[in-house]
Symmetry: C2
Subunit: 303 residues, 2 copies
């Protein structure tokens, strides 16, 4: 096993992180957050969502956010869309990439998208078609890949079938989501091996949660299995605010710190991302589930 | 790489976890904690310390604790000692095992033990000799193995030399401590390989901290490198109470949850250890840095 010399990080804090936050974050603060993230060296940023503003009022200002941010050279600004109408709004607002989403679990997809998986795929095909015509890259999120709080165990064959459908419609990268944080390293590795057989060298990303403390263990497992793109959220934004220790997305600064320790480049300045994590914490009304935002300073610098 | 069918957990919460706690924990509560831990299935428990009561007032009741606990069949109750006098007290109090300790970093050893490493080793040799004569197993802790906040980088050759000295004096198991939580998986694996060359098949344990979120990643790395004994602390006791997100020891319930997910037996009942973690949290005056004590319930059970 050879470790890569570099990997890519997809920063999802401004979208996935903020979307569930109870306290409204002002558009100007979102723009400041995104600008500070790109200034750290992040070059893939998911900045908002053109999904129903009624469903996600926190992200109703997606167009203003896209219009207000500074575009860092070489950076790609992505937004979430659920259907063709969302795609049109995203394209009009100047998104560089769109992300579509569905769940591997039928029950979770029904809850989250309000449709069957088959009906969701039918809504996504025209998005992929339109994006291909416009030359806009499409990322596909599959959630509950490693387990679901509603459906329990999720069969690998089901994940492979859904990812195959996304690949067939032209999705250029698939992000495998451990929505409830129950994945474990051998499972991650087996899942990736199985998907490789179906998807060939289609880029796969891991979207890991630290709910049970396994986030970085699964990063390491993913690296060993050849994953070169990892999603993370500054400050661990997107955790469960009402649960002590209840973490959500792995924190970008924790990921950056681990990668740096292992000698793997990711282009993100470590001290700067820790400062942005503390800024992100100031925007919400609860402590964040980050390790390095608070603890990373002295011990880490010296060792 | 074949995963083992089972591993051993050394529960260090009652000693390593409590020793730094500001709020005094009553002897009866310590005894209750230890009894509840053994009732979960834990069979190796480090319960107190016969190191200077002045240095660690929280553990001044070591003899009362050892006298008061119920001895679960097959369980081994260990205590920390620093010298021959401590060994005598431990033996008189009925400890099944003693643990000795030093740092791989000269600066940290000076701070923690108040002596050079050479002088510390000289103090430990008679302990090992007496214990061997009495048939009492001796465990050796080496701290700051993967980095030190005072000395920075710690050379593997230095760790190998110190572990070699412990092996030569008859220490039967060496626990490698990531005192400041900066170890990363490839480093863990390289360190273990290097030590194997020096120590042969002397049992090695990993004593990992989750300070930077890498605790379980290093468990996985250790498993891959052949480690079959892991230290952990119920509730993650031993964290840094004044640092949000500043975790110390990996939490026993997080380790148990990960092992169960991977199909590796450890003899510990998962729901029960989570309940003990919440009891442990009630004994101290700050939230604990556990993941599964709070978040493990529903999602984990179902997936």
């Amino acid at each position: 096993m050879t470790l890569p010399s570099s990997v890519s990080i997809v920063e999802v804090g401004p979208r996935d992180g903020l979307q569930g936050e109870a306290r409204h974050v002002a558009t100007a603060d979102k723009i400041a957050l995104i600008n500070r993230l790109s200034a750290c060296g992040l070059r893939r940023l998911e900045v908002s969502s053109f999904v129903s503003a009624k469903a996600i009022p926190q992200l109703a200002d997606a167009a203003e956010v896209l219009a207000g941010i500074e575009r860092a050279p070489g950076a790609r600004y992505s937004v979430l869309v659920a259907n063709e109408r969302g795609y049109e709004s995203a394209a009009a607002a100047g998104a560089d990439e769109v992300a579509v989403f569905l769940s591997a679990s039928e029950a979770h997809n029904q809850l989250n998208v309000g449709k069957s998986i088959a009906d969701t795929l039918a809504k996504l095909r025209p998005v992929a078609r339109r994006a291909a015509a416009d030359g806009v890259p499409v990322r596909g999120y599959v959630s509950t890949v490693f387990g679901c709080s509603l459906a329990g165990k999720v069969e690998a064959a089901r994940v492979e079938r859904i990812c195959g459908e996304l690949a067939d419609m032209g999705v250029g990268e698939i992000s495998l989501g451990d929505t409830i944080g129950v994945a474990h390293p051998p499972q991650v590795q087996a899942m990736i091996e199985g998907l490789r057989a179906r998807l060939g060298d289609l880029p796969l990303a891991l979207h890991l949660h630290d709910t049970l403390g396994r986030g970085l263990a699964n990063v390491w497992a993913g690296l060993q299995a050849g994953i070169r793109v990892f999603d993370s959220s500054v400050g661990g934004l997107g955790g469960c605010p009402n649960t002590p220790g209840g973490a959500g997305n792995i924190a970008t600064e924790d990921l950056v710190s681990l990668l740096r320790a292992m000698g793997i480049a990711c282009g993100v300045e470590e001290e700067a991302i820790r400062a942005v994590a503390r800024f992100a914490a100031s925007l919400v009304d609860h402590p964040l589930a980050s390790h390095c935002a608070y603890a990373g300073g002295t011990a880490e610098e010296r060792a």
